[in-house]
């Protein structure tokens, strides 16, 4: 029997892979030592677990294990990367370039920089969610120290042209950072081939535990340093103090190892399921895919159903765990700023659903989701005065609505 509700909100977080939990268990029980304790076997055992995990993580993104700085997650990684570069490279300049569709962890960090003397350029995106390389080139100045642009978008799955962006940043002597939260473990990410200098990512988006993430910081060509944002014992090469979360790190390592082994097969299977979901839903009129279809993460689809309201739609698809807009803003009634940046009207942004599939999603679940969404949309449209007017050929934009 199908268990309800069906979890299709894997861009918010993924379930823990049982194999990851198994790897973590000894470190939650017997191997409890502090990895920084150098004087006894308890510390050594913990350190060994951490070292092994560091290698597993490094192998996934093609870097050296010394280039991995453990953090509490991608939000901390984004903060440390951006603020750390801003402080470390203050003598070179104060200009940072990002985009309007970044996660709040990047946008709000950039806003913070503006309050302390930084200058930030927020590049717009086109209707597919992609930045223009010409815009980026034009925004570069001698004071630009950092370009920070996310790899794959959390709401639409749109993948930016990372290699081209990195090349432009480097041509002008700036560092290139990317928020790899949604991409790492889902598609091949290679920091050298891609030209990435700094990258924040997290374990819980790739079947690892919450509360552990990593910041990749390049050590060679060029050697990058970020100023620590937390004072303390000088762990992680002085860039991030605090006792290491050993079980979390071990779990992240295992999650990365599994991703490296299974990513290609997962992506192939999930994209077929995702495409089927999308194609079936698109058979309904006035249904739109948000973001790029060509350059997109394999497990994500963001779809708007015109003439139905988002909150009503969420209530109608109660057997599915999905989000409308991003998980971080769904507590408010504001339409998604990411979808608005793509040029969507408020009502179309309001009526969007984000589907995020996982390694554990089944064909049966997708079948159920297709029928469930179709039923809800059909029912709500039959109840919608806007749908009736649309069917009568009335142009809704010509009506003078009484704003309330």
């Amino acid at each position: 029997m199908l268990k309800l509700p069906i979890y299709l909100d894997n861009n918010a977080t993924t379930p823990l892979d049982p194999r990851v939990l198994e790897a973590m268990m000894p470190y939650l029980t017997d191997v409890f030592g502090n990895a920084a304790s150098r004087n006894h076997p308890f510390g050594w055992a913990a350190e060994e677990g951490v070292d092994y995990a560091r290698t597993q993580i490094a192998q996934l993104i093609g870097c050296d294990s010394k280039e991995i700085i453990f953090t509490s997650g991608a939000t901390e990684g984004d903060n440390l990367g951006i603020k750390g570069v801003f402080e470390m490279y203050a003598q070179k300049g104060n200009h940072v370039i990002t985009t309007t569709t970044e996660h709040k962890a990047v946008l709000d960090t950039c806003k913070h920089l503006e309050k302390i003397g930084g200058r930030v350029t927020y590049l717009p995106v086109d209707e597919l969610g992609l930045i223009s390389l010409e815009d980026l080139e034009a925004a570069m100045t001698p004071e630009t120290i950092l370009v920070t642009i996310m790899y794959g978008n959390n709401e639409t799955g749109t993948i930016q042209p990372i290699r081209e962006i990195a090349a432009i940043a480097h041509k002008h002597g700036a560092l290139f950072m990317t928020d790899g939260t949604q991409a790492v473990g889902k598609i091949p990410v290679d920091v050298n081939a891609d030209g990435i200098d700094i990258m924040a990512f997290t374990a819980h988006k790739m079947y690892g535990p919450k509360g552990i993430g990593a910041l990749y910081v390049r050590r060679k060509n060029p050697r990058v340093k970020v100023t620590a944002q937390m004072d303390g014992g000088g762990h992680e090469r002085g860039m991030r103090s605090g006792t290491l979360n050993v079980p979390g790190i071990v779990g992240m390592g295992k999650a990365c190892e599994l991703a490296r082994q299974e990513m290609a097969a997962d992506a192939a299977r999930l994209s077929v399921m995702r495409d089927r979901l999308q194609t079936e839903l698109m058979t309904m009129e006035e249904t739109y895919v948000n973001g790029s279809v060509e350059s997109r993460l394999p497990h994500v689809a963001n779809i708007s159903f015109k003439y139905v309201e988002g909150e009503g739609l969420m209530m109608g698809v109660k057997d599915l765990a999905v989000s409308s807009g991003s998980a971080c803003t769904s507590a408010s009634l504001e339409p998604s700023y990411v979808l608005k940046a793509l040029g969507l009207s408020d009502d179309l942004a309001h009526s969007s659903l984000r589907f995020g599939l996982s390694r554990f999603t089944t064909d049966e679940q997708i079948d159920y989701a297709i029928n469930h969404v179709k039923e809800a949309v059909t029912k709500l449209r039959e109840m919608s005065p806007l749908w009736e007017m649309h069917k009568e050929g009335i142009d809704l934009s010509k009506i003078e609505w009484a704003e309330h």
């Binding site: 003439y307 139905v308 309201e309 988002g310 909150e311 009503g312 209530m315 009634l333 009207s345 408020d346 009502d347 309001h350 039959e382 109840m383 919608s384 005065p385 806007l386 749908w387 009736e388 809704l396 609505w401 009484a402 704003e403 309330h404």
Partner: protein, 136 residues
Amino acid sequence: MAYSDKVIDHYSNPRNVGTLDKSKKNVGTGLVGAPECGDVMRLQIEVDEATNTITDAKFKTFGCGSAIASSSLATEWLKGKTVDEALAIDNMEIVEELALPPVKIHCSVLAEDAIKSAISDYRVKNGLPALELAHH
């Protein structure tokens, strides 16, 4: 957000969804809200002119569960009431009946506006002055 059982009931089994013939002289139509605000309600009443009693009421709503429930409840309450009784319906009665949380009070306000707007339309069609509608 946790919805009350009554909201869920009206959302799942909405009463009186539909359309009345707005060309009829004894049908009043109210269309309130705006798509950008996330709520549009259309509420219609059919009045027996001899007794000034509402004999039928229909709605269609684009909005959240609370907006759908508020308009569904309004149509239930309207049937059998005189036009004057209908005018006396206050949004807070809807709030209480559906146990709407503070962030959803605007749904009840919209339903009250829709009732008054439909009555006003009926009045104008029958040679009476329009109602002074409060703007929320």
